[in-house]
Subunit: 331 residues, 2 copies
């Protein structure tokens, strides 16, 4: 009987729970709304009730290794306290880990959602054949996760992987973190909309302006991507900026880590066709390690292996599978 | 009897060899000139002869674990070939590793000199109490080395740690690597002299100009540092630029890796007093992980530990000790 684990992806709008066995087979999955407004105790109550029900219904014969929970926020790994979570404000300074462990009577591993997604893609997605990969998740913000030798790189106190806050323009857009020119200010869904609005403001983006006038409520990264695909130059230039910013940050990381692979996921990664050419051009230009490691005629390396830069494969399930992987990996 | 190893630091001008035991005790050290112009075979011959002589003279009773060699260049770890070395041009495409192993009949480990220095500082210098540190070596260029869990982080093909080529200004100074705005273009000894010349050129740096007129042959980072210490504002601004560039790159790495410590070494790090205030100010401004992990009143972290940014302690011997550590660590 293969062992199994429960993965939980606690988002700002959805709470998703899955039972996954140690081979990565999905046994069951449920999605609940996250009624964050009802407060932390309510959400934790819903989560534990749903997990209990799933365990009762499934009656999996294998051993339950524990529960992994991916949360949108920074976690102090030493205590299991959440340090900060914009989407779950009343979860700060709360011992998430020990409270849920006590309620369910089984080990609980807490992880940042972007790290969970990286681990999911490593285990069952784009990164399953490499040992070292870096994932960038393009959503409302830009999340990051570094997987080294198959495990999440935690750093000194579990705060490694904040790749959305790499500086790509030292005199650029002010970021919520206090820095200027963070990657997140150029490569998130939020940034795509902002840059399109800036293009309209600057003039010369009439078709984008018409699009915004026609869709005042949903002028977002998705609709701007559709405009780019249909040949709108101003929209294409927005995605070129996305790609150049990602390329600058990825070039830094290739030079620093020399990892096997970069995986780009998250909702805004659906615009891959629009922004990826600029990533490749920028990394080629900016990283001599990227160029040096590439297979080439007459190249000096006996075993050249180009750093792979690719799309995520698990879509919205990466974080869920990654969360389930956490307790399986610990045992 | 403690085991021991031979460390070799092969620089552009000096070849230094040391016997070091497994506790880090220096048993013997010699320095030879590197007559690079006489070619690779000559240098390797001198090196192997000096090592043989050292072994014969010392007659250390402990086991010789091998020879570690730090070289200024990029090494393909899979083959032991040097990929590129500006200071040792005829060493490219040469099987350094196996040739020296054959000549000396003992295991040889080859490593990039900046990585060796990082390992040396980890073993016996500034980083001896931490498991994860990043070292930046400020010399003619800027070298880097990442030590994770006590070992050099190699990456996919041993090219990790090229931290001098992190982009700190995407539209900045052209670098020899092909990128624009590399850290190396603002924080190396070469860059310090260039930025002082630029300040003179731009006007308003009369005292620096007088200094250059008085010392046309040795207008270098050392003399510019002395001017800064003596209160010259233009010279101080040059070092502020050094500090801001280092701070921008370090902030990126704090956010990405969350390491315990950054160690700044190399010849130009003697100007620490002149550039370090700007490092701290820049990292504080740019890295929320740095701020978040700092101990503070009412802070949320149960175990706050601020990332340490400090000077190297072993001076020019870091690379030599690190090279000796390589074979000791392998066994």
């Amino acid at each position: 009987m293969p062992a199994y684990a429960i993965g939980v992806d606690l988002g700002g709008t959805n709470l998703r729970i899955a039972a996954v066995d140690e081979h990565g087979t999905l046994l069951h999955k449920v999605t609940l709304g996250t009624e964050v407004a009802k407060g932390r105790d309510f959400v934790v109550g819903e989560m534990t009730a749903a997990i209990r029900q799933m365990l009762d219904t499934l009656k999996v014969p294998g051993e339950l290794k524990g529960i992994g929970i991916g949360v949108p926020g920074i976690i102090d790994k030493a205590t299991g306290f959440m340090y900060e979570s914009p989407n779950l404000p009343d979860w700060a300074n709360y011992p998430v880990h020990s409270d849920i462990e006590r309620r369910l009577g089984t080990p609980v591993v807490l992880e940042n959602d972007a790290n969970s997604a990286a681990l999911g893609e490593k285990w069952l997605g784009a990164g399953r054949d490499v040992e070292t990969m870096v994932m960038l998740t393009l959503g409302t913000g830009v999340g990051g996760g570094i997987v080294m030798d198959g495990k999440i790189w935690q750093g000194m106190n579990g705060m490694a992987g904040e790749l959305g806050h790499i500086t790509v323009d030292p005199v650029g857009q002010l970021c919520g973190c206090g820095n200027k020119g963070c990657l997140e200010q150029y490569a998130s869904a939020t940034a795509i909309t902002r840059m399109a609005n800036e293009a309209i403001q600057a003039g010369g983006a009439d078709s984008l302006k018409n699009l915004r006038d026609a869709h005042p409520e949903d002028f977002n990264s998705k609709i701007i991507y559709q405009a780019a695909v249909q040949g709108d130059r101003a929209a294409q230039e927005v995605f070129n900026k996305v790609g150049r910013a990602l390329g600058t940050a990825i070039a830094d990381m290739v030079n620093a880590f020399n990892p096997h692979m970069f995986v780009i996921g998250g909702g805004a990664s659906n615009a891959w066709d629009a922004f990826s050419p600029a990533i490749f051009a920028e990394v080629q230009k900016r990283s001599f390690v990227y160029r040096a490691t590439a297979p080439k005629e007459g190249g000096a390396l006996a075993n050249p292996r180009k750093t792979i830069i690719t799309r995520a494969q698990l879509g919205g399930d990466a974080g869920l599978f990654g969360a389930a992987r956490l307790p399986l990996q610990r045992s």
